[in-house]
């Protein structure tokens, strides 16, 4: 004799939210969990992928949040630009915000050329579906009959996988589709849009650099990237890509003269950038045409003010192109300074 079961209720529409289970992954409350980042195994610091997995390995797992990566450009700025694009593309895929500054090309041009990611489970935002009328005959085909509990879930479990994935692969022969790129929020700083007044007063920094620093400060404050900002909404990372700093197009004469007048403009800017980044959830990649800078001591100081510095030396046009030893590679990456940020060990 089976006793009548009472109080079970209608198991039909129990869950109105999209989560089908009440299982919550236990996250440590001390560490922020932001999609696209992971804590370092060495010191628990938040790391961000640069977009190139082998470069992440060289950097000790990734780029630390709040750090600056300096890339010394190769002669034709081909591979350094590529790394910058990988960095920005990784930001789009991880849904971080971007800030691109350039004096040469429009930042939008750089953003148009981002490589397309090779993955099935990248979160591609679907266009908002039109509300269906109940009289459409298509309804009957779409409603699930057996697994009806999963009716209300999104078709692809995209959010979970893209946040747990660190480092993606890209197809350089294709550019990123416009809809993926437009899903990410980008701030652009195009130097020709900011007219400079030439002031005769002496100041250790240039107008262009101070305008850039001010613009960065505004973005960080407004969008809530400062570490001390109220943690009401979910936190995100700002990826900053600064193209070809120190070149003549920024008004700097570091690359033109042996004894430049603005010796300390770029170093002052880098110091200000480091101060800004240490108190915000942001990462910066800066490319500098170091092969044009004659003063090696100054280059050393520039590298010292960044947290990690790598130099790229392309084989094109140099005698190494014919050297059989380097047949499989396109250029040499010299790690000039391993990041010692927040760690005692190099």
């Amino acid at each position: 004799m089976a006793a009548p079961v009472s109080g079970v209720g209608n198991p039909g529409v129990r869950s109105s939210s999209l989560n089908s289970t009440s299982f919550q992954k236990k996250t440590r409350s001390k560490l922020l969990s932001i999609p696209g980042t992971r804590p370092s195994v060495q010191n628990g610091q938040l790391l961000v992928s640069t977009g190139v997995t082998s470069l992440d390995f060289l950097l000790g797992g990734g780029l630390a949040v709040g750090a600056v990566l300096l890339i010394e450009e190769d002669y034709y700025d081909s591979y350094s630009r590529m790394i910058l694009k990988y960095f920005l593309a990784e930001g789009v895929v991880c849904q971080h915000e971007l800030f691109v500054a350039s004096a040469q090309d429009s930042p939008n041009d750089i953003l148009q050329e981002l490589p397309s990611p090779i993955m099935d489970d990248v979160a591609i935002p679907k266009p908002v579906e039109q509300p269906r009328l109940s009289s459409e005959p298509q309804d009957s085909l779409d409603t699930m009959k057996i697994a009806w509990r999963y009716q209300n879930l999104p078709k692809v479990q995209s959010t979970l996988t893209s946040s747990s994935r660190f480092g993606h692969y890209y197809d350089v022969s294709k550019t990123m589709e416009a809809e993926i790129r437009q899903a990410a929020k980008c701030h652009c700083f195009n130097l020709p849009d900011h007219p400079q007044q030439t002031t005769p007063s002496y100041s250790p920094t240039l107008e262009s650099y101070s305008a850039l620093l001010k613009s960065l400060q505004e973005v960080i404050q407004k969008e809530g990237f400062a570490v001390t900002a109220s943690s009401g909404k979910s936190r995100n990372i700002l990826r900053i890509g600064l193209h070809s700093l120190g070149s003549s197009l920024w008004g700097d004469d570091l690359c033109c003269c042996d004894n430049p007048k603005h010796t300390h403009a770029l170093t002052t800017f880098l110091y200000g950038l480091r101060a800004l980044l240490r108190s915000s959830l942001a990462v910066a990649v800066v490319t500098v045409p170091s092969h044009l800078i004659q003063n090696r001591a100054l280059m050393g100081r520039i590298a010292k003010l960044s947290d990690t510095a790598i130099a790229l030396e392309s084989f094109k046009g140099s005698e190494r192109e014919t050297n059989p030893l380097y047949k499989d590679y396109h250029d040499v990456l010299l790690s000039r300074q391993a990041g010692g940020y927040s760690a005692a060990t190099p």
């Binding site: 060495q42 010191n43 002496y202 100041s203 250790p204 004894n259 010796t263 300390h264 170093t267 002052t268 110091y271 480091r274 101060a275 240490r278 108190s279 003063n295 090696r296 001591a297 050393g300 100081r301 010292k304 003010l305 790690s335 300074q337 391993a338 010692g340 940020y341 927040s342 760690a343 005692a344 060990t345 190099p346």
Partner: protein
Amino acid sequence: MFAELNSILNTFPDKFSQEEFIIISERRCDASFLIHHFLSFYLRARCKVCFLGLVQSFSHYNAVSQRLGVNLVQAKEKGQLVFLEGLQESLDPTKGLQDLFQFVRSSCSGPSGPLGCTDRSGGPEEWGPPVLLVDDLGVLLSLGVSVGTVLDFSHYCRATVCSRLQGNVVMLLHCDEEEDDGDDEGAEQLLKGLTHQCSLTLHVQGLPTGYCRDIHGQMEVCWRRQQADEQHTLNKLFQYKVHDKGASFFARGTSSAFL
């Protein structure tokens, strides 16, 4: 605090010489582990420490010091540590370093600092002789301060802290290889001027053959003044390896990786 370095330098938290001016010069490497050593050493020795951290943020120094067993936040609250975070202050190099020197002078003189911070139990705590630590004079050069100004600043600091207050000064300077026809203003010139004034120099450099996993570099210890009790003026040369919680020093060629 690295025990091996203590025995090399013959200093211990309860017995160390005063009125010392120590220069750490780094070349092709990162010698900030020595700054962390001196910071934890003098905090353990119950000295009043004034730290000008121009290169990194306070949380960085705190994170590393915690691994060495010293809590900087507590030291700051008790008034033992006065910390200047260079990244947050807006250092204006055109005005010179006078403000910086005023800060150093006011933090180092007096038993409890200029603010007269008293703890809850009543009177101010008595600390030992003041110590000034500067992490990276090279940053001042990068910001546009001239070599002469930095030399003057270091001279004034030494006169105040070492001679008048019988304390110690430790300064770190990063220099790079410069070309032979190098410019007049440079870290090399600053280093020469400072070495002339100091009592102990630690020259740290990376290995000329490049990066090695087991040996991170070599350190040369040069005493400039004759010690009162010991007559050695020999320079000592060591190689070192930095670990997560310290550093080990060994004679050249005797790294544990090879023996």
